[in-house]
Symmetry: C2
Subunit: 743 residues, 2 copies
Amino acid sequence: MMNRFQRGDKVSLIHEKLNTNKNNFKTYSMKILLMVILLAGEIAQAQPVRLRWEQVASGVWKAKIGEAQSFDLLKAGGAIPRMASLKTLGERAFPPEQTACYAEMQTGKIYLRLPLQKNEQIFGLGLNFKTIQQRGEVLTLHMDHYGGTDNGRTHAPVPFYVSDKGYGVFVNSAQYITVYAGTGVRKDSPNPPLVFNRNTDSGWEAQPYSDAVEILVPGNGTEVYVFAGNNTMEVVQRFNLFCGGGVLPPKWGLGFTQRVPTLSTEDSVRKEVEEFAKNKFPLDFIGLEPGWQSKSYPCTFEWDKTRFPNPATFVREMLDKGIRLNLWLNPYLSPSSPLYEQMKPLSGSHTVWNGLVPDINLPAAVNLYRDLFKKEHIDIGISGYKIDEVDGYDNWLWPDIATFPSGISGEQMRQVFGLEMQKLTNSWFRENNRRTYGLARASNAGGVSLPYVIYDDYYDHRDFITAMCNSSFIGVLWTPEVRASATSEEWLRRIQTVCFSPMAMINAWADGTKPWSYPDVAQQVNEAAMLRMQLFPYVYTTFAEYYFEGKPPVRAMNLIEGFSVDSSVITASLNSTNNPYAVALREDCKDQFMLGDNLLVAPLFAGEKKRKVIFPRGKWYDFYSGKFAGNGEVIEIEPGLDRIPLYVRDGGIIPMIPSVLHAPRTGEVLPLEIRYYGEATGNFALYDDDGETFNYEKGDFNWYQLRVIKDKKGNSKCIAGLPKGQKSMGQYGSVTWKYMSGQ
Amino acid sequence: MMNRFQRGDKVSLIHEKLNTNKNNFKTYSMKILLMVILLAGEIAQAQPVRLRWEQVASGVWKAKIGEAQSFDLLKAGGAIPRMASLKTLGERAFPPEQTACYAEMQTGKIYLRLPLQKNEQIFGLGLNFKTIQQRGEVLTLHMDHYGGTDNGRTHAPVPFYVSDKGYGVFVNSAQYITVYAGTGVRKDSPNPPLVFNRNTDSGWEAQPYSDAVEILVPGNGTEVYVFAGNNTMEVVQRFNLFCGGGVLPPKWGLGFTQRVPTLSTEDSVRKEVEEFAKNKFPLDFIGLEPGWQSKSYPCTFEWDKTRFPNPATFVREMLDKGIRLNLWLNPYLSPSSPLYEQMKPLSGSHTVWNGLVPDINLPAAVNLYRDLFKKEHIDIGISGYKIDEVDGYDNWLWPDIATFPSGISGEQMRQVFGLEMQKLTNSWFRENNRRTYGLARASNAGGVSLPYVIYDDYYDHRDFITAMCNSSFIGVLWTPEVRASATSEEWLRRIQTVCFSPMAMINAWADGTKPWSYPDVAQQVNEAAMLRMQLFPYVYTTFAEYYFEGKPPVRAMNLIEGFSVDSSVITASLNSTNNPYAVALREDCKDQFMLGDNLLVAPLFAGEKKRKVIFPRGKWYDFYSGKFAGNGEVIEIEPGLDRIPLYVRDGGIIPMIPSVLHAPRTGEVLPLEIRYYGEATGNFALYDDDGETFNYEKGDFNWYQLRVIKDKKGNSKCIAGLPKGQKSMGQYGSVTWKYMSGQ
């Protein structure tokens, strides 16, 4: 038998075994020491080593491989594990099948091997747009715009996957890792695939069975985490909480937003706001696109005084009308900026559109941006940013051979630049104790707690919904933004879905489309938008669950308990004629999702009149009528154009407010209508706080317990529980219960 | 100014500067020594260092960067530079603009920077299918099937480019290098792009001007070569000769080949051969597909005795009829093979379709295959192989984390497995002093001299022709093989082009299509095939030029002198209405090509009746009629379905033989008709040898000088010059000159 390792590799491997260093210099001395030991004759056998797991939180374990890294995704995102919340989730045993994980070091890279069971499904591995199940795929997780193929190049190449066997794996590396998600077959596999002769055997498959996820980390060290859970949701919750917990947006962030044409002026924005009011269309914030800046692509971050002569006054005027402003930017500094010469030595070797790429790992670079952004935007009342062009594409951004003064590589910078811009801008709002909520074209693990929603230029409605499903596995938010559409039907269908997303946005920067631009569906568009506003108490609470419990607001069906459990049972006997349910589960379910615990959203797409809806185990009811719709089965519906199909689980409680033109504001009191559905008892914890500050982090919030119980005679009894000492439900005044009886 | 390097990186860089080691162990001790020096306080400033060029052949220079590599592309291909031929090309000065090349080492990788001039065009960088000019592209050169995008993933990811400024650059690395071919802009660039404000300036471009090619080599050492030349062709010649010189196929290799259905038997092959004879269609070799093996996917490499009960007898029988056999294989060893247990320790960690991946860098593994292949195939008269499935795709092949007992990485193995299989199989034929000629789905630099033609499953006719153009920049051969077509028009158009390619192949493995399967074009198909056979003396000579001079047989227009010179002049004033020539040159010219020095091929594609043809400087004549067609201009033609448009340059000489059903055989004597065209004098060196052995390498060949000169009265005089002491032109008997007067 040959020696399969080159001499240099042995060093790395031994090093990995002994590695306990915390800083570069110690690592460095240790390396020399090890080399001397090696020279003295102590040559170790380099073989794959079993990972040693160390518990780091309730249900969370870490293994270190190779050299400690000064930079990783959690550090880039500034993620602080929410230890108390993790504890609340409870202790779990280490997933027994995952004890046999191996790593080896080869030619300066790390090779990982993590077992897969038969019939195991895995989800996640970046923001994919076409597929939900990732087993059998090869993905190189590489920050980029989405190019039409699920190959790992995407706006959120998060190196995390969750298994339906109740665990998740996260590789905390800011490098382009390649994941062979159940493709490789080792010759020494204990579970080898069957062998066929392709010439004559029909059982031959192009991709034989593989019993492992294998991962290539192109670096000399990384951390791997395992998250346990009784189900996929619990695993995702642990991942999210470990990465800082979910975002709680300001209330206005969940209202409507319109992005106006790029060369808009104070006057045109004023007019836009008036038109929204006149058309009785909800509006909470307006997005200004590149032309608000004196120069952009690259950016000055300063106002264009011909279009916005008095920014502070104008922002104040808008705030007085209840309208916030969001500013587009890309973070590349124009040669016309007064900061240019100061930033030059603090920036990367390469420019982007002639703009400097500030090394935002250097405090000096950060401070230059901070002072400018605070003075020009944040301190005059700007509400947030749209951070553009931090994802790709290769021909535009800095090359991977770019160097940065902090020592971070071009590759690492690519993986986290958008994430770090999120972290920094958020921290500047936080200094003023004001929440922000904005858009970013790039995110990554470590950004779960950051108040940004991902978007892109790709504009396939179905794939946008699939992305929304997939966002729920990996701790990011995604908006299927609406732009001009080919038909009024498409416009309406897109509006209907964006209303059930983390940001209800129309992006009219290029075309100036208004919500009422398609007159034949203007009424239905308005109704869809109003429904989102009515659902505000429910939607805000789903985000509170994201923050407090790590449950994503939008959820793929594979995170829903009754759904995933059934799938593994029924897929054993596939038959597309006799057992459509099994087929539906075996195929990706990527065109429906849950918003919070109770609401199942089943959108339609232009050109379609019918669709299938898959209900998880239990009874489900039509949201609008309360009628029984199905019980753990697949139904076909033909819902008409006017409404997006919505279903509520048995015992589901949905708190609502009247149609309003803005999200609830501080001091505003609104009546609450609490709808409840089905036959089962139910309870719903309704969340509320001031909606604008970070005071909720210090306990300044309330949970109102809404319950439907049965009395001795079996009649429903509705209870709205107030916290001790409280006399009202805060922002919500009168309370009306409404049983959606289906009659 | 910050220190832009991490501590670990300094080691690499100093190491690079001092590197003179030849073996791993010395490298290793040196590393420790350097580390000790560093610790002692001698901290070097890590900055990009200028490459130091060392002349290694006439017009060829090398720079070493980082650690010496035990494995690279030239080694993998077994390339032996043809020093004498390089000398014949003459001495050239080092390209002056290329003296300012820089390298730096960062985090174990090499960053290269090579200057580009304004208006410079570059070609090559892998077998691309859609684009000719590569400036402005980002390509990660990664062995793979072609997936529909020119992104570096292709069957021949050759890291070589040629510039129209008269030089070429080759990175001799068997790793996935990324080339930023004029995209990156450094903040310290001496030639920065103009700055625009996108909001208001129409001159804004998404990709500003870049003054360099930048390359990321993901390893700790590599060699870079620069090739000089007075023009693109001379640069390519030097590259080809340095990589071993071009292939001289056996004569039969340039005849027709049919690949028969996968489960063919001795009887069905016999019948196929009879049918070809009956239909008077040329045929030199037949390709047997997977079913010739007892088991395949993975392979036993042994005959299926139910379909081929007596292989040796059958091969002999076919040879007696003048038909050779070529065997399909993929190099993955079936568990059913008697060699399996012996090969197991000599193979990679992962299997492909359950087959072992032999580490063919180990002599023991090679010998197992050699003995089997010689005994089962080569020694009984098999003529060659079709080496399949050595390119991609990621989900099927071994992952990059695969390890191999020789120490080669999975990545390196991926880049060269096809190349090494070519080298090995070729060497086994060479042991019998017999040339082979076959197909391989993967090649790379270092394989120029190997007798294999690349093919793939992608089936776009236009892109196939573009690939043929691009093959000429990078030292590979490509065939636009013909498979079943949607219409008889498409069938004919495809046949017409494959007849002007390195291998005239119909691939009927899946569908059994015959040349005459489309009766309404059967006659024209036959004529196209017969024309290739008639052109045999010309075609064989173009390959001899490949071997002796490094000139590729098929040539992109950008390699043709009068073409490239004009382009740089005329593109200055673009105007698509008034100056179509300039536009045509500014756009890629990718649908016409030269075959040898004299013949311009301008194919048509199904659905098209007209096309433009761009003539390089000088007069051009219609091949069929001899009529004047144009002079350094763009013409539009409407040539009809029957013939593929062909043009001959002024003074062009085309030696031809009669229509024959097989390539000229040893001892066969054929009359020669020498056509000549135009008004200028001309000369053509006609090559001949035994057509089967390697004796030409020992001088056993002849060049016959065919010349048309003018006498004092201006009349043409034709001379066929014989080498001293020879009385005839070898295989060619009677000689007839035919002036294609255009009358």
